[in-house]
Amino acid sequence: MIDTIYIEAAVRQHPRTSVILSRFPKARLIPCERYGEVFNPRSQDFRIQKQRPALILAEKFDNFILPAPEGFGIGGEENFYFSHILNCLYDCRYCFLQGMFRSANYLLFINYESFMSAIDRKLGETVANKTVTFFSGYDCDSLALESVTGFTEAFLPFFRERPRAILELRTKSVNIQFLLDSEPFDNCITAFSFTPEEISKKTEDGVPPVKSRIKAMNQLAERGWPLGLRLDPLICHNGFESTYRRLVNDIFAAVPAKAFHSVSLGPMRFPTAMFDTIAKLYPENRLLAGPLHRSNGMVTYQKEVEEEMTQFCRSLLSEHLPTEKFFHCTPWC
């Protein structure tokens, strides 16, 4: 899966580097001074790179924890996000990462302990009894590259000891073995994002089928892990009522409602410049061709369409969950 690995000189001897390299004995190893030499050059093409992404092992020095966008939250009193990895194994046509980074390579910051210290500092700065949410799947899928990163293995014990720090693992993957093998705890929410199967097949390349993800949710629920459900982004298409109804029914037929910690709905929205970058990468793509509308620096569906879809899905979910479990976690809203 990964045949090229760039390694920053500073992390060449890091124990986590050795573990990761041992998983790819045949990979081409290329030394670099700083990851920016590989990740940031202007003359790169995200779409071509996405056909064969390389892994970059690097060290992060600052900005470990960032404030979550305004209004973004799942019940914690303060909200932050952190990104141990930039970019994703999957290839969703609506993903904003395509418009955010020049490179499609997986950039993994292996100094997890520095992220943990920063989380502790952040907790120290907040009032002692406040709950603080840390979103881990903002610039990546939290679990998709678990077999490479060992992310949950490293971070679950850390969050388990800090009950007022809520960890959200946001994913479309079914890499849940480490969670199934671990004792569940309340402040780790595994949040699965879905679009209906018909949409997923067309727009989410590499993502496991909806059925498999519902099965993974059910396994986690049975094990006692709290779940999140994210219908995000809501994709407009003819007959969306029936595809979303089927999706929601399938989920709640398999997973007990009490397992859900939170649900959220997210419209499809992009800042204009980001959208233009993505549309240039995939000019032939039907999803990106619309019907989309530009207003106030954003590209979205028309307001009425967006509201109609949100209201409809909200009422679908209300058939299964109380409104206290409804939250908002979409950037740029």
Partner: protein, 283 residues
């Protein structure tokens, strides 16, 4: 689809070699004929989509040759670029073909990383570009005199995925085969591998050109109505969307009814595009 055919029907690959002895087997293999000989010698095939330039020795010469070639192409931002030549290496056997995965300019310390997206049917290695010929081989890297000049200049025009350096090891600690005849022979041995790289680059270049092509109808619109610069950018974006959503409908005809001026045109296209519905199966 409604693109200008000539813009995307083929890709282009530009090959830069320092010496006639390196270039000769490539010229024969790709059937390249001399097309220009003012400052540099340039050779092209009959389709004019594989070009070769003999740069002369050294970083600046390679950079100059790249610049010269870019002037001959109007769509050079999607061209493929290939530097083919010989290099030294401490331990690799003489005659080994290698692609560079990291190119460092020994003079400045700056490094470039050609993106490893092609299926190279041979090994890859780091490469050091030096100013003067040396037989002091760096540990684990090729050493030669052009790649940094070639790469840094080509990446001002094209993208890292389309720019590569292929080197045949001509000398190591124990053996040297630096005479013209040996160089030509060694490159000849690897022509099939070079050809497979050229074909991959042509395919990427063609796809990129197609992706970036201006919708054919744009020119018709610009001739018929008067658009400001901002409006013509908006129009271009709308026409791209149009050809995806309504591939069978001519946008000029759709916009003509009731459109007196450019504003009306944009409004009418905009409404059609934002009112369009989509089936899940079309996504």
């Amino acid at each position: 689809m409604a693109f200008r055919e000539s813009q995307y029907m083929t890709g282009t690959v530009n090959i830069v070699s320092a010496l006639p002895a390196e270039a000769k087997p490539l010229m024969d293999h790709f059937k390249l004929r001399s097309s220009q000989t003012d400052h540099f010698k340039i050779y092209t095939n009959s389709d004019d989509n594989v070009r070769l330039i003999i740069s002369g020795v050294g970083k600046s010469a390679a950079a100059g040759a790249v610049k010269h070639l870019t002037k001959l192409s109007s769509s050079n931002t999607s061209d493929g670029w290939l530097n083919v030549g010989v290099a030294g290496h401490a331990s690799l056997p003489v005659g080994t073909l290698v692609a560079a995965h990291k190119i460092t300019d020994a003079g400045t310390g700056r490094a470039w990383y050609p993106t490893m997206v092609l299926d190279f049917p041979f090994e890859t290695a780091s490469l050091l570009t030096v100013k003067k010929e040396t037989h002091n081989y760096p540990a684990d890297a090729l050493v030669e005199m052009e790649a940094a000049g070639f790469y840094s200049t080509a990446s001002n025009f094209s993208i890292n995925e389309l720019i590569h350096c292929l080197k045949v090891v001509s000398d190591n600690r124990n053996e040297k085969k630096l005479d013209s005849r040996s160089v030509t022979e060694m490159i000849t041995t690897h022509l099939d591998a070079v050809e497979s790289v050229v074909h991959s680059l042509l395919r990427l270049s063609k796809n990129l050109r197609k992706r970036r092509a201006v919708p054919r109808e744009l020119e018709h619109f610009l001739n018929r109505w008067k658009f400001t610069v901002t409006q013509s950018h908006q129009l271009e974006k709308m026409l791209r969307r149009w050809q995806v959503i309504f591939p069978e409908i001519n946008p000029i005809e759709a916009a003509s009814t009731d459109s007196k001026n450019s504003r009306d045109v944009l409004k009418s296209l905009y409404h059609r595009l934002t009112d369009a519905t989509v089936e899940a199966s079309q996504l």
